[in-house]
Symmetry: C2
Subunit: 436 residues, 2 copies
């Protein structure tokens, strides 16, 4: 029986056209990271499952992870996200290196998902993180995200960054509404799903979870907040009454969000960044600012990237707390975004400097020699194998973006020459082989 020629479900074959596109995107990611002095890293493809048990959400472990037992009886998994690996690596070095630590990576990840638009089983994800930098680090990651989007030619007309703060969410869910952890998690999920739900259904679920009309009203007020000014007004309503949880205070839970927006304002970034109460980010490790980047096109309304601040990723390694902020940006939704907005160059044809061809087989050795000489001068050269008629060579030359065609025929061979056709300027010249 013949084997299947298709790739494994949810993964892709990258033929040259797709691979040039991928290289283009990865190069921008690396370049912009280096502009911000972030340093490259990578970790192993496999990690022990315990690492993810300790840090990733339950959904990831139970439903999405590719895990198996190796020949040495270790339970391992193909990495479904990069943050746990980064935490493991930073735990090794953070005592010796000067903070902040700025790092970026573009790993391939796997998750067992139902393949659909913008979602595949194997994908690459750009990751950038800064450790030990406080609020300036949070600002910098947002700047980096904006610069990365702009490097592809995207503007604030194409995308927006929606931010929220877990401390503010805690203030509302814990302090104002007075919920325990269980119902709080349910509210998180409900907020996440809000835009995919009918208003009545949402309203009913709020009441089921909070179990109280007054609490439900506070929650509904919260999800309707649109600006920092809205939040201030909202918070003022409650500042006079005693909050449910004693440690909740406006200073600890709201000031960071106010400060961030002040800094964003002073740096002219508010045309990109907006407050949105619906951004909560499912992962457990976020403790401060959280954000997602969205396509503004309503047809392609999904997160291209997301991230947030964490107080303590190193705890699971028994290391002292080290705050940080990170982001992840998927190459699949980014490509969808860039395609939708026609921001991608055409990668159909390869760019090659010279096509070297020979019209008589006796010239083969000379053609090999010429190609070698041009390559020594750092020119991209394709050697057309076998003697061929000019017509055939010209026809082939249209398959790639060649700049020049070099011909060696009987005449040229006899005189130690090569005829060079400049395809860009439509000129022709004959040069001595030894002069190249």
């Amino acid at each position: 029986m013949a084997l299947s020629k298709s790739p494994y479900r949810g993964t892709r074959d990258f033929f040259p056209k797709e691979m040039r596109l991928r290289n283009f995107i990865f190069q921008k990611m690396a370049d912009v990271s280096e502009l911000f002095s972030y340093e490259p890293y990578d970790g192993p493809l496999l990690e022990e499952v315990d690492l993810y048990r300790a840090k990733s959400g339950e959904e990831l472990i139970n439903e999405q992870i590719y895990s198996f037992t190796d020949r040495g009886d270790r339970e391992v998994a193909i990495r479904p996200e990069m943050t746990p690996t980064l935490a493991r690596m930073v735990a090794q070095i953070h005592r010796e290196v000067t903070k902040p630590i700025r790092m970026y990576a573009i790993p391939n990840l796997m998750r067992y998902e139902k393949p659909q638009r913008g979602r595949l089983r194997e994908f690459w994800q750009y990751n950038a993180d800064i450790f030990g930098a406080g609020q300036n680090g949070e600002i910098e990651i947002l700047q980096l995200a904006i610069s990365l989007m702009k490097s592809f030619g995207a503007t604030h007309e194409h995308f927006e960054i929606l931010v929220n703060d877990r401390r503010f969410v805690d203030f509302v869910f814990g302090g104002l509404i007075g919920l325990e952890q269980g119902p709080t998690k349910k509210l998180y999920k409900l907020v996440d799903a809000k835009n995919k739900m009918a208003a009545e259904k949402f309203s009913a679920e709020v009441r089921t979870i909070t179990g109280d009309e007054e609490k439900a009203k506070i929650f509904e007020q919260f999800v309707s907040l649109k600006t920092i000014q809205d939040i201030k007004t909202f918070a003022d309503t409650f500042s006079s009454r005693t909050l449910t949880t004693s440690e909740v205070s406006i200073t600890n839970h709201l000031k960071p969000l106010y400060d961030i927006f002040e800094k964003l304002e002073s740096q002219g970034l508010t045309e990109y960044v907006k407050f949105d109460p619906a951004i909560v980010r499912g992962l457990d490790y976020y403790t401060g600012l959280v954000f997602e980047i969205f396509d503004k096109n309503p047809e392609n309304r999904r997160a291209i990237a997301g991230g947030g601040a964490y107080a303590n990723l190193l705890q699971i390694f028994n290391e002292p707390a080290l705050e940080g902020m990170g982001m992840g940006l998927g190459e699949v939704p980014l490509t969808d975004f860039l395609t939708t907005h026609k921001l991608l160059p055409d990668f159909t044809k390869a760019d090659v400097d010279y096509l070297v061809a020979y019209l008589v087989s006796d010239a083969e050795t000379s053609a090999f020699e010429l190609a070698a000489k041009l390559r020594e001068k750092n020119k991209k050269v394709e050697l057309f194998f076998g003697e061929a008629k000019p017509k055939k060579i010209f026809t082939y030359s249209e398959k790639k973006n060649f700049k020049f065609i070099c011909f060696i025929g009987d005449e040229e061979l006899k005189n130690g020459e090569v005829k060079i056709k400049d395809l860009v300027n439509k000129t022709e010249s004959t040069i001595k082989l030894k002069d190249i």
Copy 2:
């Protein structure tokens, strides 16, 4: 219990220094491939195990492959080599594209091995293949291999390419010695292991496998051949007598090897390439020229790369035969080679253009602004967070290769200026912020 901070056995954490080295090596691989007009590709991390069953050696499947059953009951494996994926991809397109097809990739692969020098469980491998180009393709792959090695500064004093031809080996094992497939495979393994064995043991094993003193002698003659002239003399001895297998002939089985060396000679490549009867390559799919690149340093005597010509990789997909030639080069033995010969730059420190620092906290916004401006001019900029004294900033500046330090103090802030220290030329200047 705290989790382990170490990577999974046989895999590596790439901290910035190691990652810069890896990027340097991969960039050279891509650059040299493009000089030869090879186009980039990649395939999935996972393939169905059947693909490897059909094409890879038994050792790989039984002992080295990372395979498991996915949640949909498919038997899948993390790719242990790239050639089967490439064959699957070429099977999809070969009818539509103009030949030759030139492709390269730098995939990460996994094999369950006992980690040791030059061998890890997760590693990257450069792959280059050409399909449908005949003997010129074989020459081109050898040229490409040589150019790649030379791009790192290696010369024929550092490395050599040892070649053989499966057709010649068949001529000897099948035609001259008259062995069946079983003993032939054993002889392959024996040849492979020759240099790690005592002469007496080798001699005894030859006699066990061939079961005949005369045959053993022919085999011993074969393994002592050193040049193409030796082969010609050796072959002449037998040309007068009837060969065991009728289809074996000097024209079919030796001429390709003679021709290759003639071409290598005319292109001045014989200072890099030598005939070696001990190169046979274990994999089943090779049918013509085979080669390995070796470090000439006797301390580091292992193959850095290997490859060969195959007549028909597409058969398992029920596609018509398409000849090709490919090579694989491991990043682990290559790095060992480059390290041994001191051919690697120092990647300890990151290269950054500007370190932007502020001496008073009021200057923070200006510093952020300056950094943003410099980045718009494509400069790599690190922002030093928090007000700091010059001494602290200078001390920090030694951690990376900065070209300039920008300071904004009280004075500069008042005048809308920045003081720039040129660390390379040891000069200092003050510039208006708005003039940058």
